[in-house]
Structure formats: C-alpha cells, structure tokens
C-alpha cells in the first residue's frame, strides 16, 4: 500500500539506480545490460499505468518530496493530462527498448553497448521526470538530463556526420536551455515562487508586468526550440537522420512530445487561458505559425530523397498540428491535440521503426535504392502503409480521430480558413507517404532478380513495429475509451489549475 503511494517518485529514482546497475553489471558482462534496461523500462510502464488509473479514480496526485510542502519544497504533480502523457511516452519507450537490442548490436558496436544503455535509461528517466514534476526549475534540471543524454546518443552512431548533427543540436539545445533559464528567472523575480501551481496562483496579480511577458516569451521560445516548432526546427532533420535507429525512434516520438507537453503545461497551467487570450494575445500568432509549420514541413518532406529525413520533416509538420490545438485553445481542439500527442507518437514510432529495419537489412535509407522493397519486406511495408494511413488521416485510424477533433474545434472557434489549411496539410501528407508506397510496391520490376529471398528482420524488431501499427488502427476504433482520459485532461488545461 505504501509503495503505491510512493510510486511517483520511485518511477524516477529506481531507474536512476537501475542505470548504475547497468553500468556495474555491464562491466562484468555486457550481456546483462539489455535485460536490466528492458525490465526497468517495462516496469516503469507498468507503474505509469497504475499511476494513471489511480489519478482517474481518485483525482490528481501531489507528492511532496522530503515532506516539504510547496513554497519550500519540490512536488511531483500528476493529473489526468500528464498521467496520459506519462503512459504514452513509456509505451513508446518500452516499444523502443524491445526494438533496440538488434539495432544496437548492428549500429553501435560491442565496446560502447554499456554506456549506450546507461544513457538510454537516463534519457527515458529524464523525460519521465520532466513529465511528472510540478516545479518549474526541476523541469529544467530533468530537461538537461535528457538533453545531455540525447546529444551523446545521437553521436553514438559514430559516423562523422552524426558528430556534427549532435554538435549543432547541442548549440541550439543550449540556447534553448539558456532561454528557459532566463524565462524561469523572470517569472521567479515577479512572483517569488517556483512551484507551478503556486506560480499560477500568484501570477494574475502581476499579469501586466513586462517581466512576465518576457518570461512567457523566453519559456515559449525555449521549449519551442526543444519541440522543433517550425522556424526553430533547424536542428531536427540532421539529428533524426544521422542518429542510430533506436535513438531516432526515442527522440522523435518521446522527446519531442515531452517538450510539447512542457509547453502546454507552462502555457495553460501557469499562465492560464486568460493570459494568452486577453492579457497577452498570442493565440492568433501561434495558430498562424502552426499552419505554416504544417504546410512547410509537409512540403519539405516531399522534397527529401532520404526516407529518414523525409520522416523527420514530417515530424515538423505534425508538431504543427499539436500547436494548432494550442492556438485554437478550446475544449474540442485541445482534445484533438492531446490525442495527437499519443497518435503521432505511435505512428511516427512505427514509421521510424520501418526505416530502421530497412537500414538494418538494406544498409541505406535513400528512397531511390528502395525500389520494390515491399516484395522482400512485406510485413514492414504493410506496417508502413497502415501507419502512413494514420499519418494522412484516413478513418478509422487514430490520426483521423485527432485531426477530426482539431478541425471540429477550429470550426467551433470560427477559424474556417485554418481548418481548410489543416485539411490541405493532410493532403500534402498523402504526397510524401504515397511516394514511399509507390517506390516500395509499384517500382523495381525491372531488377527484381537479386532480391528473391525475403529479407524480413528478426522477430524482436518486427514485434514492436507490428504492435504499434495495429495500435494506430485500434486506438482509432476504440477512441471512446481514450476520450474518457483526454476529455478531462483538456478541461483541466482550460480550467487553469
């Protein structure tokens, strides 16, 4: 009983200890690393499900670390919104962990396995910490844990270009970290509090101060860099394309989602809708940038000649959809946005897994080299088609449901033009998804000879991919059950505290 009570903190600290165990056990024998990592992440996932169930049953959990109540101490605050995000990210992390073993053997090399798994574990833990903390400075600390682990994991591909991609990400990520620190400092100067709910309580008194506006801008810009929101996405394509497959999956699905989560949390919980609509009206601007991001990301994705790079630009476009919900800022649109956090994580995870499998088997992800690949990798390409359908928004997939709610919300708020642009963005998604489908299924008849044998990857890599592909479908069909969590989460964001 008491253990359940302490679950929010154990879900962070036990993995920290587990990462030390991976280090020590890996010193002894490298084969211990992977099982420990897998078991830890799976049990984290189990704990997250229990936490979410408890939140839905008994309301928000507030765990005071050290027994010190908020203005003095740090608290972990879990409500339906971040409980949902927590389960989402750990679901994807667990899928990635299952997938990682063969991919790591193939891409990292044996002498770096131990440190790879230690950092992998720390990255997941940092992201979990970011998700459930209720203190704005603690958020920064966990952000930096995950960022430093991510910089190195990107470079762990040990290709010359991956070092450059990692360095560029490090520079931009540090600028983002600096901005977040300045923004936090400005808010701290205005209120004296660091706890999010405490800050939300004190902030309305000083809404008119330029300090608060500056703090808002810095926090939003900083987290937008981390989330790769459109004009600030320049680090993303290289980082995604040059890192090892397992890392690409993790950072593209989990890390960008947690940054978006942090953005939503800061804007809606600390500043509240009253601030972004009446005091410092930015919703219109965010909506505009979000639609530009959708279109520009999709167009850039169509222009790519490499599968991983194409999917990376597609992420830029999809982050635009989530930010679209932020710009509309009403109940229905936010439901769509939160649903898209899960939906995009699942489908982009599946698509990058397919790309990773292709690299594992074929050794390249250049689209021109993949003609007729569907004949030798039928399961992977079918999974790509299913997840791609979800990306486009074909019913009854999860991608359709989230876009449906987004459009509905936009119409409700009277943004007819923006709703039309959103649909146009979906059409552009057909462009890049269809390109791969066409190359994989309908080309390459002329030299089918040398690929007679099936090249399907090992089961431990196929299984998580198939599960995610099926989830794209089933989450869409059984969306009613999800709405019972997403609905209250959206209401909670709009209601302020």
């Amino acid at each position: 009983m008491t253990l359940i009570e302490h679950l929010p903190v154990l879900v962070i600290t036990i993995p920290i200890l587990a990462s030390l165990l991976i280090l020590v056990a890996g010193w002894w024998d490298r084969r211990f690393c992977y099982p420990i990592s897998l078991v830890t992440i799976l049990s984290q996932f189990g704990a997250a499900v229990i936490i979410l169930a408890q939140v839905m049953r008994e309301g928000p959990i507030r765990y005071h670390l050290g027994g010190w109540a908020p203005p003095l101490g740090i608290e972990l605050a879990i409500d339906s919104f971040n409980g949902f995000v927590l389960v989402t990210i750990l679901l994807l992390a667990a899928a990635t962990a299952v997938y990682a073993r063969r991919s790591v053997e193939h891409e990292i090399g044996p002498e770096k396995t131990v440190s790879f798994y230690v950092l992998f574990q720390l990255l997941v833990t940092g992201l979990v910490g970011m998700t459930i903390t209720g203190d704005i400075f603690n958020l920064y600390v966990f952000l930096e844990i995950s960022s430093i682990a991510a910089y190195t994991l990107i470079a762990s591909a040990r290709k010359p270009r991956s070092y450059l991609a990692s360095f560029n990400y490090l520079i931009l990520g540090s600028i983002a970290g600096g901005f977040i620190l300045i923004g936090t400092g400005n808010l701290y100067a205005a209120t004296g509090a660091l706890n999010m709910l405490d800050m939300a309580r004190l902030l309305p008194a000083s809404f008119e101060l330029a300090t608060v506006h500056a703090g808002f801008l810095f926090l939003v810009i900083g987290y937008s860099i981390k989330a790769a929101f459109f004009p600030l996405h320049i680090w993303l394509p290289d980082a995604y394309a040059e890192s090892p497959s397992a890392v690409t999956i993790l950072i593209s699905t989990v890390m960008s989602k947690v940054s978006v989560y942090a953005l939503l949390r800061i804007i809606f919980t600390i500043f509240t809708t009253a601030y972004i609509i009446d005091v410092f009206p930015v919703t219109g601007f965010i909506l505009f940038i979000a639609t530009v991001a959708m279109i520009a990301g999709a167009v850039l994705a169509i222009a790519q000649s490499d599968l991983k790079r194409m999917l990376a630009y597609s992420s830029v476009s999809q982050i635009g959809y989530i930010m679209f919900a932020l710009g509309v800022a009403n109940q229905v649109a936010l439901e769509g946005g939160i649903l898209h956090i899960l939906g995009h994580a699942v489908m982009k995870g599946c698509l990058f897994m397919v790309a990773g499998l292709i690299i594992y088997r074929v050794g390249t992800s250049r689209l021109s080299d993949l003609e007729g690949i569907a004949k030798v990798m039928p399961i992977s390409c079918a999974a790509f088609a299913l997840a791609g359908a979800s990306m486009i928004g074909i019913p009854p997939t999860i991608g359709f449901m989230s876009k449906y709610y987004l459009v509905l919300g936009a119409l409700e708020a009277g943004h007819w033009a923006y709703a039309a642009i959103l649909l146009l963005g979906s059409l552009l998604a057909v462009g890049y998804i269809w390109r791969f489908i066409e190359i994989a299924y309908f080309r390459g008849n002329r030299d089918g000879g040398h690929r007679a044998r099936t090249l399907e990857a090992p089961a431990s890599m196929l299984a998580p991919m198939v599960v995610l592909a099926l989830l794209c479908l089933f989450l869409g069909i059984f969306v009613e059950g999800l709405m019972e969590i997403v609905g209250p989460a959206a209401a909670l964001l709009l209601g302020g505290a």
């Binding site: 302490h6 200890l17 280090l23 670390l65 050290g66």
Partner: protein, 143 residues
Amino acid sequence: MRKNVIIKTISRLSVPFIQVFALYVIVHGALGAGGGFQGGVVFAASFILMIIAFGLTCVRQRFSYRWIVALSALGITIYATIGLLCLIPGGSYLGYGSIETALGVPHLHGYLIDAVEVGIGITVMATMTSIIYDMSDRGGESS
C-alpha cells in the same frame, strides 16, 4: 616527457594540502560556506595537477578507470539510497526528518545532509576525473 624537478616537487607537496582542503570543504558544508560540489571539484583539481605534473599513465596506474567509474556510481547510490531509506519509517523520499524521529537521535537530519554531501562530493570528484582522463587520453600520444 621532460623532467621538471620544480613542478614535480611543488605538486608533490601541494596535492595533499589540496585534498585535505577539499575534504574540509565537503564536510564543512553544513556549518559554513562549502558543500559537496565545491569540495568535489577541488578534489578533482588535485588529480588534474597530478596529471599535468606526472603524466596520465602514472596517475592512472594508481587510480584506474575502473575505480573512478565505480566511485562515480557509488556517490549517486549513496544519495539515492539515503532517499529510499527515508521511506522505511513512513516519510517521503529524501525526507530525512522521518529517520530522525524514528531513531530518536537529535541532529540526525544535519548528519544525513552531511552524508548526502559526501555522496555528491564523491560523484563530482570521480566524474570530473573521469572526464579529464578521457580528454587527456586523446591527442598527441597516438593516432
């Protein structure tokens, strides 16, 4: 490496003082200016001085990678385990007060803070040294 008697002698003399000072800074954290980070960094500075004066190979013979990595893990383990121990008497994580009341020892809270600071100091010292080892291993010698 060129023999340089003055540098070697001076570092041989000053390293113990630096290390004692580092320990003082760590342990003195609860009473005055000081703490685990500062002390850990000062301690690591003594290793850096040794590496500059005697060369990496000489230092590494005495403190191998293995020890350094084990120490950096040990520091976090001390910290996190003290945090977990606080759960046993029913307190929350890192709530040292619960152990103090459970055992009935006065000022235990302060001593636990000292223990935590020692953990921080060990990790910071070991990690800084490990980073210096890795960085000075590169360059001139090979490749």
